[in-house]
Amino acid sequence: MKYTLSVLVENQPGVLSKVVSLFSRRGYNIDSLAVGTTEDPAVSRMTIVGQGDDRILEQVEKQLNKMIPVIKVRSLGAGSVSAELLLIKVGCEPQNFGEIHQIATMMKAEVEDVSRSAVTLKFAGEHEKCETLCGLLRPYGIREIARTGVIALERGT
């Protein structure tokens, strides 16, 4: 089972390493981890996506809550919005540019850079849509990918 945790932490040096070390020493895996500041500069939000059953998720939440610099842990389910930023560089001969541009338009990805033999697209959206875009571009030869990992917020108030 895939889970997404939204973790508010004190914005102090060393907090990221404390959180990551907790995951590694207790044997929990991390699919992706994104960190950024919030509206309060003293607080950062970490969005952690991992795999595990309910028992593991419960332990992860409890162990995170135990850490002194962790302010709040919330498991995000269906009632949340999530997005990921993707930069993808695809091999592109001039004769293919039209097709790639078509895919980009269809998926609402932006063309960020064009060179003689490659195109770099930027896309922001749900994790699954990022996967779809990568799948569509794979036949043209993906040169490089950079992804931020998922960030997420609860819906509503």
């Binding site: 070390s21 907790l22 332990q59 409890k62 002194i68 302010i71 709040k72």
Partner: protein, 539 residues
């Protein structure tokens, strides 16, 4: 003007610290210089690991955080095993380490080690102080975090130039404000009600008392609850000593090396009340099997312990002292007289093994003898290995304390922990029980014993073997003994003499009993070496 180092010392004084255990080096020298003018007593250890163990023994007996101090680099890394030992047993410690100058940090200079990084998984929290202005808040928070909630070690790493930094004034904060740290103490009333209902319907309930009861100083509350409800009590190794052995409701220690009567009781129970017990593998090796047969109530201050190792029906998060006192007040006598009679019979059928011998000292018989000779509130510290099991099973606790490294199983813990305990409560009888293997891991602290003039008593069970590993090799590897014969052991009597500490050798139980009486009555430190048959089993 005050320096950062003076601020640290003033903070310690404000926290009521009377003693620090440590070992100086250049990076912590400003602190030591500030200590020169303070009434705080400095105990110079012989290796830093033992400073942490002494602080741990001190903390366990005094009920306040113990403080240990080391320099940067190797001083700090030597502390790690001691810090990890305290972490596994939830002992409140504040460890202060010197660090290289802030401006040199990260350049791999002489005696630099990333100690906060290295201790990440063994500390409840840690600080690398980057401005002297932060010191009062950091120290205040460290003592608060170490002692509250589930206690544990907190590390404060202070670069030398921060210790030397000058500030206009010292102001110790009155209160701690950590928005993300507010341990829950009360416990949910609804859960307490559910627990009481479960007790009402249970027929074969058992209370399992863990180290949390000791840490919360909830001994009286646990005994009152057991008495009011009539529910039989077993304990984990860390909970040993809470209930006196002669208490008719108490069955003894559970686990791989526990008393069979206690294991039988927990194995047949239909309701288990885990009180400050974390269901360690050595206490309950098949938690899921047990949880299938019984309803489980788990009371713990640390929510993460609930459900970690065992399925739980009724979790109660809170301070065990508050909760047990609430339960003792509200509980009706449980409907379990038949069951209580049955487990009392199990207890009476249990006969601890080991008869006094004339050719060796039989350690189990000797420890039963010794407990009868000692004062009711005596403190016994035992080293991991066979000594730990012999002591836990055979030493009859009354109102005393049992100090041991139950979680990490650190050899060499007993002697320094016992010394720390004795310094915390000089009026109490304190005895360390070590095997010859563990004793040699902390034997250098005999010098600290001598220098502090503490009349510490040490028993060394000398079988010239690493007994517990050897026993495992017998069972698991067809007796192919390797690395467990302690060839080259010194003559311990001569060695103690060299330290100026009285020492005697016992070669049979009768002599051991006489010498134990001599040891307990003498006003100086004393080491009693007992010659033990290597074939003596743990149980």
């Amino acid at each position: 003007m005050v320096t950062g180092a003076e601020i640290i010392v003033k903070c310690l004084e404000a926290e009521g610290v009377e003693i620090v255990f440590g070992y100086p080096g250049v990076a912590i020298c400003p602190f030591y210089d500030a200590l020169y003018d303070s009434p705080i007593r400095n105990v110079l250890v012989r290796t830093e690991q033992n400073a942490a163990h002494m602080a741990s023994g001190y903390a366990r007996v005094s009920g306040r955080p113990g403080v240990c101090v080391a320099t940067s680099g190797p001083g700090a890394t030597n502390l790690i095993t001691g810090i990890a030992t305290a972490y596994m047993d939830s002992i409140p410690l504040v460890a202060i380490t010197g660090q290289v100058n802030l401006e040199q940090l990260g350049r791999d200079v002489f005696q630099e080690a990333d100690i906060t990084g290295a201790c990440e998984s063994f500390t409840k929290h840690s600080y690398l102080v980057k401005a002297a202005e932060d010191l009062p808040r950091v120290l205040k928070e460290a003592f608060h975090i170490a002692a509250t909630g589930r206690p544990g070690p907190v590390l404060i790493d202070v670069p030398q130039d921060i210790q030397e930094q000058r500030l206009p004034a010292f102001l110790y904060p009155e209160r701690v404000e950590i928005r993300s740290y507010k341990p829950r103490t009360a416990g949910h009333p609804m859960q307490v009600k559910r627990a009481l209902e479960a007790i009402e319907t249970a027929r074969r309930p058992v209370i399992c008392c863990g180290g949390g009861v000791v840490l919360a100083n909830a001994r009286e509350e646990l005994l009152a609850f057991a008495k009011a409800s009539g529910i039989p009590v077993v304990s984990t190794m860390m909970g040993t000593g809470v209930a006196p052995m002669e208490d008719p409701l108490y069955l003894g220690m559970i686990g791989n090396f526990g008393r069979s009567c206690a294991n039988r009781a927990i194995g047949e129970a239909d309701l288990i009340l885990l009180c400050g017990a974390r269901v360690g593998d050595r206490a309950i090796s098949a938690p899921n099997q047990i949880a299938e047969q019984a309803k489980v109530i788990h009371i713990d201050i640390d929510p993460a312990e609930i459900g970690k190792n065992m399925r739980v029906d009724i979790p109660i998060v809170g301070d065990i002292k508050t909760l047990l006192s609430a339960l003792a007040e509200k509980v009706e006598p449980a409907n379990c007289e038949e069951w209580a009679r049955q487990v009392r019979r199990y207890k009476s059928e249990f006969v601890p093994r080991g008869e006094p011998r004339a050719d060796f000292v039989e350690p189990r018989a000797f420890l039963r003898d010794l407990s009868a000779q000692m004062e009711p509130d005596a403190v016994l510290a035992a080293d991991p290995g066979q000594s730990q099991i012999w002591a836990a099973v055979n030493f009859s606790q009354r109102e005393g304390r049992f100090l041991t490294s139950g979680g990490l199983g650190t050899m060499g813990y007993a002697l320094p922990a016992a010394l720390g305990a004795k310094l915390a409560k000089p009026g109490r009888q304190v005895v360390a029980v070590c095997g010859d293997g563990a004793f040699q891991m902390s034997m250098c602290e005999l010098a600290t014993v001598q220098a502090t003039h503490v009349p510490l008593k040490v028993i060394v069970f000398d079988n010239r073997r690493l007994g517990m590993v050897r026993e495992y090799q017998n069972k698991r590897y067809r007796g192919r003994h390797i690395g467990t014969h302690m060839a080259g052991n010194p003559n311990f009597v001569l060695l103690c003499k060299a330290y100026g500490i009285p020492c005697a050798l016992a070669e049979n139980n009768e002599r051991a009993r006489e010498l134990a009486a001599e040891m307990l009555s003498c006003k100086t430190p004393y080491v009693l070496v007992c010659r033990v048959d290597p074939e003596t089993p743990s149980l």
